[in-house]
Symmetry: C2
Subunit: 347 residues, 2 copies
Amino acid sequence: MIHHAKDRPTLVDVAREAKVSLKTASRVLNDEPNIAPATAKRVRTAMLKLSYRPNELARGLKGRRSATIGMVVPNVADPFISSAIKAAQEIARQRRSVLILASSDGDESLEREEVEILLSRQVDGLIIAPADGRHCTVDSFIAAGVPVVAFDRPMQNAEIDTITVFNEAAAREATEHLLSHGYRRILTIGARPELYTCIERLAGYASTMKRAKLKPETLLVARESDLTPELIRKVLSGKKPYEAVLTLNGVITMMVLQALREIGVQVGTDLPLVSFDDFRLADVLSPSLTVVRQPAEELGRKAAQLLFERIQDSKTIPPRKLSLSTTFLLRESCGCARESTSITNLE
Amino acid sequence: MIHHAKDRPTLVDVAREAKVSLKTASRVLNDEPNIAPATAKRVRTAMLKLSYRPNELARGLKGRRSATIGMVVPNVADPFISSAIKAAQEIARQRRSVLILASSDGDESLEREEVEILLSRQVDGLIIAPADGRHCTVDSFIAAGVPVVAFDRPMQNAEIDTITVFNEAAAREATEHLLSHGYRRILTIGARPELYTCIERLAGYASTMKRAKLKPETLLVARESDLTPELIRKVLSGKKPYEAVLTLNGVITMMVLQALREIGVQVGTDLPLVSFDDFRLADVLSPSLTVVRQPAEELGRKAAQLLFERIQDSKTIPPRKLSLSTTFLLRESCGCARESTSITNLE
DNA sequence: ATGAAAGCGCTAACAT
DNA sequence: ATGTTAGCGCTTTCAT
């Protein structure tokens, strides 16, 4: 089954139509110098007339660049991720490249596979949000000298550009705010404690608590799905009740909110809460949710920008580690009265 | 700046290593028949030894298939869309293809551009969620004989596979439910009335109202952003107050919810509401939101499946028009008491 | 300023 | 069962 109509005009057809050589046509196509304006015009006219479209596969084959970048993420449908994808795609477009999207589904071996596939597609570069991050899954890219940028989480043992948010500072800020309300027994709920983001956020929380001479208390589960309503009920109904909760990501927030409703605990009044990750309905909830917003789009944009810089200028620059600030969206669930304010952490 | 290390082994290297001809190596690579098991094994060993990876660009160039599909959507970050992308990507992976993701940003001319770019990448097929849908933007694909499937909205004047949801039935079901509560003055709020989805949903609402001998009443704006709190306040504070509201998409729901809160109208009690599109926090809101859920993932999966069928078997099948059922998620905002139930419309 | 010829890495006839 | 010979559509030496 041949789909690509064989009759699509090639550069040879254009050259013939314009009565020039193949190379001249190629020169015009690539805006190379040293071409007579009149000739260039003839070629362009021919291109238009034949409605010529260069075959990018053929261009890529010749070695230079495929004008393609790859992006591997754990979950395409995650709002944080999809916002980043959107931004990265826009940058790619500006740079006249296309974006091949792949999903690791949070699985490291799948991630490895996708990475290999992308490499065999000759992508010019790769943006990766590591499924795990404790092992390097991009050795083949590094070996091939194709740029990679890690995004949201760093990748161990890889000398690559990395862009994250200030997770620790964000957790510190959230914790400090909760402390400023006078809460002492603050519980932090997290999942997948091996993950970089979890570790960092936990560290920000714990150090802040210790500085206030308070005991950090955490509920950590292996996977988000382990966070059953029963478990939450059990933990929250200990003898000394917690005075506030900090949830370490959006999925957890969802599950906690769900569980709290089931057991009849009113968020904000009965139990103040601050969440990592913003939601579309977060400020329509009652109480509205005080959250740490991550700059998803900017993260994606920046990742793509770093990548393209690296693609143009491979060796010269040493690996860069960038972090972006989160935004603390002060709403009601932390115990504050309704009146929207937002504070950006400045680290 | 050459990135693709020129020293990546090629099939020629593999052939040499295995002491066979290029073609034999190619045969093994493609699992073609008529090859001695011993030879095949030698070749595979050589591949492993050299850690050979086929160059997909070169394979694609030769004409057959690029093992690439394209997907053009209005907004990558839209939860409905990103869920569909996720599913489509998974199917592509199963079919050993990759997914190039492009965004039209809701703009028809940008959509045309992206479509052209994809064609020049020799994609084997295209999934498109038309930005507008009133004009065909995929003529070049049709001319080239490359399969296209329209997704979420049909594309005018294009004889292509199309997959949508039962918009009209969904709106009818929502309206009927509102009527069953005894509400008579039901306002429907929509945007971009030229869009297929809006037209269909409006039709479902209007016909249901008429069948009940009631007057359909609508607030329709050109773009979602025109839906200011002032406008909503003005419309809702007419002399004869509305008894319920139906919002025609998620963005509108957000804006209405926001506006309602600003003007102090309590959703559900003061003003019952049913929304198109589900939200992550919809059932944690109080009242929780009764919504029409669209099967986003299934839509994406089905679109990809249709596309791959078409890729394998281009001409034989006539264009197919598929629709999937929505799910009416009965929660509280319609005026129902809390007790989760869900009903699927069966059309 | 323009052109001829040689591939990029692979698959596809057509041998043998 | 295996090999030889041509290209795919483009870019790139190296001429002129």
